[in-house]
Structure formats: structure tokens, C-alpha cells
């Protein structure tokens, strides 16, 4: 997207099948890390992977899991109640 290429242009540059690029764009399938890197390089970018410490935020996870159990309508109501406080 940032490179402003169409699927056909990306297909020509990367040598990947256009239909496959369309499936990646639609999230039907996810490209492997290696393929993703090839695609990015075809667009003039690269992917830098850096190892950083990670610690799960259990409190936030609990809040988000609770939110996921609600319907969108309930999520909206909860937010509106929060604004009123």
C-alpha cells in the first residue's frame, strides 16, 4: 500500500502469482515470513526483526476477553457509561 503498487505490478516485481497476492490482501491466507520479506523487498522496503522482552498484561487481557464476550451494542453502552463517569 505504501509503495502504491497494484496487485499486477507487485506480481511482476516479486514474481508471485497475482491471484495469490489477492488472497493475501483479503486475509484468506497469511504469507510466510520469508515470502513477506520477498514481497516487501519487491516494494523497496525490508522487514527488520528485533527481539524485545515481552510480558503479557494479564489485567488488560482479562478486560479484553470480557469485552469480546459482549455484543457490539453492549460494548457501545459500556463505553457511553464510562464517558458519563
Amino acid at each position: 500500500m505504501r509503495a502504491g503498487l497494484s496487485q499486477v505490478e507487485l506480481s511482476q516485481r516479486s514474481g508471485k502469482d497475482r491471484a495469490q497476492i489477492a488472497r493475501w490482501e483479503r486475509d484468506v491466507v497469511v504469507p510466510s515470513l520469508e515470502t513477506l520479506r520477498e514481497l516487501l523487498r519487491a516494494c523497496g522496503y525490508d522487514l527488520e526483526l528485533t527481539l524485545v522482552p515481552y510480558e503479557a498484561d494479564r489485567k488488560q487481557d482479562a478486560r479484553l476477553q470480557k469485552a469480546l464476550q459482549r455484543t457490539p451494542q453492549e460494548r457501545l453502552q459500556t463505553m457511553l457509561r464510562g464517558r458519563g463517569r
Binding site: R2, Q60, L64, Q73, R75, M79, R83
Partner: protein, 170 residues
């Protein structure tokens, strides 16, 4: 956050005028489960002429004003910048024809979902992945926190999906 914000009034006005649009931004993220507070509605309208005419009628109904206090002139205002910020009687309304990282309405429409919100409203909401895509494309420091929340929501949804699949298999 004392500003008036009545998302139902905004959505009902858009519905009455049969405007075609997709919800994005803070409210879109909240509808997906993000635990943030928001005081405005951001929409990506279809930019077809008839739809913009209908949107204009909804804006009149909502008494929409530009930051300079004048009534918006959609054709001209949308051509001026990437977004149009309006104050209305029901709260803030942002019109974003082509959000960062997307190609606008037709791009987002493919993955958007109709979400029932009560009062007969079932607006179209951009997908969780597209919300993350838009925030990432903006690359703003203050969006880092909401972006991390969205990424975690995507992971939790996938875990939930895998859990449901396992239950079905059993």
C-alpha cells in the same frame, strides 16, 4: 470528556437519509472490543455523487458546522484535505473519504461487517484488521497504545476461534 456525544443520534440521521458509509476510528475500535473512550464518530462514506448528496442532507439535519462555524460544502471541503472535521448537535463527526493505508470505502467495504447496535441501527463497521492497518499507516506515537490493543484483540479473537473449532471437533 464532557463534550456531548450521542452516537445514536448521529447514526439515526445517517440512516434516515440512507447514507452509505463505514464506521472507523475510536468508535469502530470500541465496537470491536477496545476499552478506550471516544467522543466522536468517524466515517468513510461512499463518494458516489448521490451518496454525498444524501450525506449533505444528514449533515443539515444534524446542524453540522466546520471549525470556522460555517456549514460544510461537501464537494469543496472534501477536496481540500484528507478529512473533514465537523461539530454537530449530537457531537463530533469526522468524514474521512480515504483513511491512511486504505483506498477508501470500496477497499474497506469488502471486510466490513454490519453490527446491530439497537434502535434498529445496523451500521457497517470496518474490520479489526483494517482498523489496525489504518492506525499503523498513520504512524503516530499516540496511536501506539490503541494499536497494541487492537493487535492483542486480533490475537485473542484468533485464540477464541481456535477454541470454538476445537469444541466443534469434539
Amino acid at each position: 470528556m464532557a463534550e456531548r456525544f450521542d452516537p445514536y443520534a448521529l447514526l439515526e440521521a445517517l440512516e434516515r437519509q440512507r447514507v452509505t458509509y463505514i464506521i472507523i476510528g475510536g468508535l469502530g475500535r470500541v465496537l470491536h472490543g477496545s476499552d478506550e473512550l471516544t467522543d466522536g464518530l468517524d466515517i468513510v462514506p461512499s463518494t458516489r455523487e448521490e451518496n454525498l448528496r444524501r450525506l449533505g442532507l444528514a449533515l443539515e439535519e444534524l446542524n453540522a458546522r466546520r471549525p470556522d462555524g460555517k456549514a460544510p460544502q461537501l464537494d469543496r471541503d472534501l477536496a481540500r484535505g484528507p478529512l473533514l472535521e465537523l461539530a454537530t448537535d449530537a457531537g463530533e463527526l469526522k468524514i474521512v473519504p480515504e483513511p491512511a493505508g486504505t483506498r477508501g470505502y470500496d477497499d474497506l467495504r469488502r471486510r466490513a461487517r454490519l453490527e446491530p447496535l439497537g434502535r434498529g441501527l445496523r451500521p457497517s463497521v470496518a474490520s479489526l484488521d483494517d482498523h489496525a492497518r489504518m492506525l499503523a499507516a498513520l504512524g503516530r506515537e499516540h496511536d501506539r497504545e490503541p494499536l497494541l490493543t487492537l493487535q492483542r484483540l486480533i490475537e485473542l479473537e484468533h485464540e477464541l476461534g481456535r477454541g470454538i473449532s476445537r469444541e466443534i471437533e469434539l
